[in-house]
């Protein structure tokens, strides 16, 4: 057997393992190197084949999906499609209208924001993207690349989808927040965040921490742009045990405490 045919055999074994039992970090690294060497490889064919076998053979589970769960999934799907349909150009006017008057800074009752939360989807993607040995985030990487590097290289990063609020600015927002406690690093991702005029208002992130009961941690201010937006989180203090991430619309430069006039997105960390 030639060296090349041995490599191709190993490549197939790893692709089969990826499609059936998953790969550990070392095997993912080997797979990536082989794929770099054989770039024309169909990386999904065994995954598809395994699914074809599964679909043909799968027996019904001994228990059924709970009815309430099915209804919840349907509602989430309908809400997802509905939010994807919203036009964004009219929202920019609403953002301008919503710009707050310069106001004295007021205390936030942060522990009891009292929002009616739709079910948050915790998307744990740690094992989904193949781990690789590429360099951790560097100053030359784009925020998107840095975000992906954090997901790949972190052992504790989690991803939570944004939940819309009752605020009119919220209805087009989708996306998620990635956070790693070990790295003290995170990224917000938005689609449909209404574009703001930085001279009138800016968005500000707040990180609620189990160990900081009085006030949330200021995660920094940012501005929205058309299309997908990736924003590095610039927390001012160490975050120990995040329970919720929230985005508000504030005066330019942000505030020390928010008056909660415009809470546009939240992402609640599920316990456990």
């Amino acid at each position: 057997m030639t060296a090349e045919s041995q490599k191709l055999e190993l490549l197939q074994e790893l692709l089969i393992a990826k499609a059936t039992s998953g790969l550990d970090h070392d095997d993912q690294t080997i797979l990536q190197r082989l794929l770099d060497e054989f770039p024309d490889t169909d990386t999904e064919e065994f995954e598809w084949l395994a699914s074809q076998i599964d679909v043909a053979i799968t027996e019904p589970a001994s228990d059924e999906m709970p009815a309430h769960l099915m209804q919840s999934i349907i509602k989430q799907g309908e809400a997802f499609l509905a939010s994807s349909d919203q036009a964004t150009h009219e929202i920019t006017d609403e953002v301008a209208k919503a710009s707050p008057e310069p106001a004295p800074r007021r205390t936030l009752n942060n522990a009891l924001w009292g929002l009616a939360l739709a079910a948050s989807l915790i998307i744990a993607l740690i094992g989904w993207l193949p781990r690789d040995t590429s360099s951790p985030a560097t100053a030359e990487m784009t925020p998107l690349q840095s975000r992906e590097a954090l997901i790949r290289n972190s052992t504790d990063a989690f991803i939570i989808a944004w939940t819309q609020t009752d605020d009119p600015l919220s209805k087009t927002i989708t996306g998620d927040v990635v956070w790693s406690n070990q790295a003290q690093e995170g990224y917000m991702r938005f689609q449909g965040l209404p574009v703001n005029n930085p001279q009138l208002n800016q968005y500000q992130l707040w990180i609620f921490d189990e160990q900081r009961k009085q006030y949330p941690v200021d995660g920094g201010v940012f501005d929205a742009v058309e299309g997908e937006l990736i924003v590095p989180i610039r927390e001012k203090l160490q975050v120990y045990s995040p329970t919720m991430f929230a985005v508000t619309l504030e005066q330019p430069g942000g505030v020390v405490v928010s008056d909660k006039e415009h809470i546009v997105a939240i992402a609640k960390v599920e316990a456990g």
């Binding site: 074994e13 089969i16 039992s21 699914s51 076998i53 679909v55 053979i57 027996e59 997802f80 499609l81």
Partner: protein
């Protein structure tokens, strides 16, 4: 128009159709891997969330909708299993063999042609290869785990699974060619 294409075009009514059509299949797949009901419920929500997001990626020329959504469910379940370092729910090895022995040429799902190919090819494999493939594909046991469970050499497990799946891959390709020729 298939359900996923309708979802991709923004038809909200297709969401209910999709859940009603595939909840049984996807729940069965997830529960086969995940012991905890709470965790399974979490994963199934993630699966459907991904279906909504990526419905536009479905290519009918590549295969059936059920296989597309099943792929998402399998990925999520396998990744959770691996990240938890947990074991899947399984019957005994004898139970797995019972499943195979019970297979008939009748299709279990609505995907007539593909199921025929799977069942016919699985029945043509020798018993040991069929056992290895089922433990690997259906229950997520790694090659090393299968070698330990069955007492077979690791190299033999890898080779038989690889060869068996390549045979099935070839059979699917030939079946697809026949379908394409039949359309022309």
């Amino acid at each position: 128009m298939n359900v996923l294409t309708q979802i991709a075009s923004g038809n909200q009514e297709a969401v209910r159709l999709c859940v009603e059509k595939y909840n049984g299949l996807l729940w069965s797949i997830v529960r086969r891997y995940i012991q905890s009901q709470a965790e399974a419920e979490e994963i199934i929500q993630e699966v459907f969330a991904e279906v909504w997001q990526h419905a536009s990626r479905y290519d009918p020329d590549k295969g059936d909708e059920a296989v597309f959504v099943a792929t998402i469910a399998r990925r999520r379940s396998i990744d959770r299993l691996r990240s938890n370092n947990a074991r899947p729910r399984t019957e005994s090895i004898d139970g797995v063999i019972d499943v195979v022995d019970a297979m008939s040429v009748q299709c279990k799902q609505e995907i007539q042609a593909d199921s025929d190919v799977v069942i016919k090819q699985m029945n043509q494999l020798d018993e040991e290869s069929r056992r290895f493939i089922l433990l690997n594909v259906m229950y997520g046991y790694s090659h090393g785990e299968i070698a330990s469970m069955t007492g077979a050499p690791l190299g033999s497990v890898k080779t038989q699974i690889r060869r068996g799946l390549n045979i099935m891959k070839q059979a699917f390709a030939e079946a697809q060619q026949k379908t394409i020729r039949g359309r022309v």
